[in-house]
Amino acid sequence: MTPALRPIADTGVLVEFDDVIDDSIHERVLNLDAAIQNAVTQKAASHSTASEDIVGQTESAAGITELIPAYSSLFVGYDPLLTDYATVSRLITTLLNVSGDSKSKARHWQIPVCYESDYAPDMPALCATLNLSAKQIIAHHTAGRYKVYMYGFAPGYAYLGGVPQPIHVPRKPGPVMDIPSGSVMIAGPQSLITTVVMPSGWWVIGRTAQTPLRANSDHPFLFNVGDTLEFTALSEDEFHSHESKGGNEPT
């Protein structure tokens, strides 16, 4: 299916690949995202490497300000004083046929989670709702292989697809205030690690010391969209020693 290009007023193009959540569609989003990033990077470096312009598109990558990958669409933001809809659309159409090499850039993460006591305030209610033991819920959550599909809601909130079917559960009827940072939550097929204190209607089943937002770092966002991850269970004692260590490297 050829993606649809839709104008977003004078500041962007939304590339819509489909209307469904599907891993192969998401891979196409990531590929175009990576290809445009490559063109923008080349544009920035074009003083020295103009002759190595492999896609022939460095000029038309001028004025691109923002790329937001989501489940089945990519937003390409531009500055209307520097470029326009037709120019950006031509760039996108060309790059749809270029490999962005997004697969090789994806990393895999192991996130240790304490699923115990106060760190899992919704576990008792969830056990009742799903008719599973806490042990079973933890086993399912740690068995899942997750992918970062997109960010949204608040800085560093990465939507992780891949929650195993037996623990799919609809959101709570209303949001609960002041969910602490580092909370590991689930709703439907998605899981999420909170990075700031915010209200949420998702089910809090654990806490990690390794929140994916390092506010004081030069690279504050641990995950890129397209990265994969898994959760491992920590006891409360292990969690406390982990908390003091910090740090996280991709595996």
């Binding site: 977003i8 004078d10 500041t11 300000t65 326009d84 960010y151 800085p155 560093g156």
Partner: protein
Amino acid sequence: MSAQFLIDHIGPLVSIQDAGRPGYMRYGVTGAGPMDRMSHALANIAVGNQPQIAAIEVSLGGLSLQCTEGKTTVAIAGGCFDIKLDGNTLSPWSRLEMQAGNKLSIRPGAWGSWCYVAFADGLASPSWLGSQSMIQGTNLCGQALQQHDVIQQQSSSTAAQTSKNNTGNNTGNTPLLDPTPFKPDNVIRVVLGPQNRYFTDESIHALHNEPFQLTADYNRMGIRLSGPALSINTELNMPSAPITRGSIQVPGHGDPICLMADHQTTGGYPKIATIISADQDKLAQLRTGDHINFELCDAEKAVQVARQRRDQLRSMIATMNDNQISLDERLWTQNLISGVFSAEQ
């Protein structure tokens, strides 16, 4: 010595805003920045700053400051607010000198919802990802300003800035421009989409043929409108998709919500249309109860309008210069003009 100010009174939604934090929406970080970007740039330029520098964005809740230390130049632009310096009324768009003991009071006036107080050299405040714009509901970039907080002017960093502050021929308190011609009308231009296909033909027709009204459900994230209910023509099963400033999203209740400076970056409700960037400032300056009419436009025209708006800002700056400032400062300001436009985004 940099000047210092004490907040005597502060209304809700007043915050420090620079031109915003572009480039991080893919990580869930909104662009932020001023609700009315042109007025923010104009206030900065009037004190000799680069247009993207941090200033105070004042809401209808108002702001009162007293200078407790030092002296500096301050400029105000935006809506038509009621501005008083030590009890004396000034023009709504003014440049003024403040020194220890002076009290500045900003209250809602004849029209407008936001105005900007820019300080020569900007403000010293926390910065995150290259921007001093506060991030609502988090402490990632400082906390919300409160009564009795102290606001510190940024100390000047370059020789050029120092010289412009010490030209010695300050004109005292002077009006910048008459704001009357810039009072917003009620026509807001939109480009249909990206998810207009989900809406009934009647809803699309109503969008650009019937008036909508701004409700009190209004903040820096968005403005909820009331008017004809907009309805979806199919069962909605849309995966969450990117949102941008100006998106008009329609949740299940059928009332459109215009997403503004602090919008979330993705969401699952369909967007019927997007407000063109040039008219976003205008919408921001309207008030609860005001009516608007949406007018359809295409992307090409919207880009033209954005470029016309740059030209409008250029001519406003030129008029402002002719009105009042010294030759040295005029040259300085002209050097800044090219910087305005890349920062506008």
